[in-house]
């Protein structure tokens, strides 16, 4: 798709300063003009948070909303507060603010770490937690404007013969093989966060796990948000506060890149024994990929003894032509999370002998391999 450099096509810009005004605007404009056949028009209003997921698509003419509702002035959607023993985060809180907030760092370091590893410093300064959770798929066929399943067409270019699919899904793909690009999503699923969604008519609360949709539910979107919906709160219960956390993100470059795979884990331990655990993989499926079979196998066992449960993480994986490495990677990430091994240097250096290879080869075995 040709890249257009002359700025964005026109849209009407609205900058409401309250949630009520934003909801009223979305109620009026969210679904766009109705078409003759009764469906929503293509030019609906777009909710703008940090702008990093959508402005580039406006520039490329991949999305052409007739109106944009910018949430920058809705102060009520920004900030972190305590309500009882729950931590409540406004979705317009920037990723940088989430990463350095004392309460989040102290009780939910898993989320702080995930936020700290998103993209680049400037993107963390502008990008918001709500936007990071709700961003669209990054499959470049889809992003490039190809008429694929996710765009309403009838083919998946990424799974076609000869396609480039190194970054795509190994779990839960159905027709579309795009993955969830978010780093904070697996962390919030692991922490059993709940998300409050409002539209002009009602307020509803969904578990973070149910906020994200796989292609089997809806192939055209990654979250449950409807065009007139607004994510208004992210609530983290005290359930996993202060437990042992492990977040690890593997990517080609240490900055900017989306994860090839990531893991977010929360484990409640007595001494070395794991009583209860939540493990969630990122960027291997269209939604954060929870590992209930691993969680069940870990319960009540010392972690050294339970590390082999990581093999269960990749049961049922279906790699594409170029992403078989993600299966090994996912298993080794789960293993390191269970053992509590410090994340490796987030760089290419780990490619050859670390996470991509056999799990924890002993120096003796490595030497043996080299000799033979």
């Amino acid at each position: 798709m040709a890249t257009v450099r002359d700025g964005m096509p026109h849209f009407d810009l609205y900058q409401p300063d309250s949630v009520e005004d934003a909801l009223a605007l979305l109620d009026r404009l969210g679904r766009g003009a109705h078409m003759d056949d009764g469906t929503d028009g293509p030019l609906r209003a777009w909710v703008l948070a940090g702008g990093l997921d959508c402005l580039e698509r406006f520039k490329d003419r991949i999305r052409r909303p007739s109106a944009v509702v910018d949430l920058a002035r809705v102060g009520a959607l920004r900030g972190v507060r305590r309500e009882g023993d729950e931590t409540v985060i406004g979705p317009m809180t920037t990723l940088a603010e989430v990463a350095r907030h004392p309460d989040i760092r102290e009780r939910f370091g898993l989320l702080a770490e995930a936020a700290a590893q998103v993209a680049s410093p400037q993107i963390r300064n502008q990008g918001t937690l709500g936007g990071n959770l709700s961003q669209d798929a990054r499959c470049w066929y889809y992003r490039g404007g190809w008429p694929c399943y996710r765009a309403g067409g009838n083919i998946c270019y990424a799974a076609a013969p000869g396609a480039m699919n190194r970054e795509h899904a190994v779990f839960g793909a159905r027709r579309c093989v795009a993955v969830s690009p978010s780093d904070t999503a697996p962390a919030l699923v692991a922490l059993e966060a709940r998300l409050v969604i409002r539209n002009a008519a009602r307020t509803r609360m969904v578990a973070a796990e149910d906020y994200f949709l796989g292609p089997e539910t809806d192939i055209t979107r990654l979250t449950v948000l409807e065009p007139d919906d607004l994510l208004v709160e992210i609530r983290i219960p005290p359930t996993w506060a202060g437990t042992r956390f492990h977040f690890e993100k593997v990517r080609d470059r240490p900055v900017w890149d989306f994860a090839l795979a990531s893991i977010a884990a929360a484990m409640r331990q007595t001494g070395d024994r794991i009583d209860q655990a939540r493990l969630v993989l990122g960027s291997v499926a269209a939604r954060p990929w929870r590992l209930p079979q691993v969680e069940a196998a870990l319960a009540g066992r010392p972690r050294e003894e339970a590390a082999d449960a990581a093999d269960l993480a990749v049961r049922g994986a279906v790699p594409l032509a170029h992403n078989g490495y993600k299966v090994t990677l996912a298993r080794n990430l789960a293993r390191r999370a269970i053992l509590g091994q410090p994340p490796g240097a987030p760089s290419l250096a780990m490619g050859a002998s670390g996470l991509m290879g056999a799990p924890d080869p002993s120096p003796a075995r490595q030497t043996g391999k080299e000799a033979s």
């Binding site: 409401p16 300063d17 580039e56 993107i123 900055v255």
Partner: protein, 208 residues
């Protein structure tokens, strides 16, 4: 003949010149009337959150009135409307950092920020670093002394990012500063000398 026709159609007691003036004035007034409410409260009342086009930006300590389109990025406004061409547009996709400016002391990609979303905030570009007398900012001087950049296209972005980072950590290690400016790319691959220059600049800043 001519005089006779004109006298027939214009009101009695009016010269030809007065008549033409009144016709023009009537046209101007009737054309302008629909525009007047749109500039004031009526539009705002019917649609909450509607934005004005003529806005005031605070850039490099000065208040600047500027006509901004709703779909205009901060980089477009700063470069195209205010002439601040130190703001470089490398990728226009939040992937290179050349357009970085400070908004309330925080580094952001101006190519991926709507101008309307920074109204009321203090914007600082590389043009605002040197003193009015032309004396370079210590960070610029440090980079100059170490000959930090090769082609220099990425320099304004690096300077602004580093300045924003140094406000949070005035005495960083080389590793910390590298992480702080990791959202900026240099196609000359001159990172080593850039870091040396920025560290020298940080040292000058600490000395004051």
């Amino acid at each position: 003949m001519c005089d006779h026709d004109a006298a027939m159609s214009r009101p009695a007691g009016m010269t030809r010149r007065q008549f033409i003036r009144s016709v023009i004035a009537t046209g101007v007034v009737s054309f302008s009337v629909p525009l007047l409410p749109a500039r004031g409260g009526a539009a705002a009342r019917t649609a909450p959150g509607t934005v004005e086009r003529l806005v005031t930006l605070t850039v490099n300590g000065m208040r600047r009135r500027v006509d901004v389109l709703p779909n205009e990025t901060l980089a477009q406004t700063l470069r195209g409307k205010l002439g601040l061409t130190g703001v470089k547009v490398g990728c226009d996709r939040a992937e290179c950092g050349a357009c970085t400016v400070l908004v309330d002391d925080v580094p952001v990609y101006s190519c991926s920020t709507l101008t309307h979303s920074v109204l009321g905030k203090a914007i600082l570009t590389v043009e605002g670093l040197a003193s009015p007398g032309g004396e370079l900012h210590p960070l610029q001087q440090g980079v100059l002394d170490e000959q930090g950049f090769q082609c220099g296209y990425c320099a304004p972005g690096f300077l602004m990012t580093a300045l924003g980072y140094l406000k949070t950590n005035p005495d960083p290690t080389r590793q910390q500063l590298a992480h702080g400016v990791s959202g900026n790319l240099c196609r000359c691959q001159d990172y080593d000398k850039i870091l040396t220059g920025l560290l020298r600049g940080a040292e000058y800043m600490r000395r004051g």
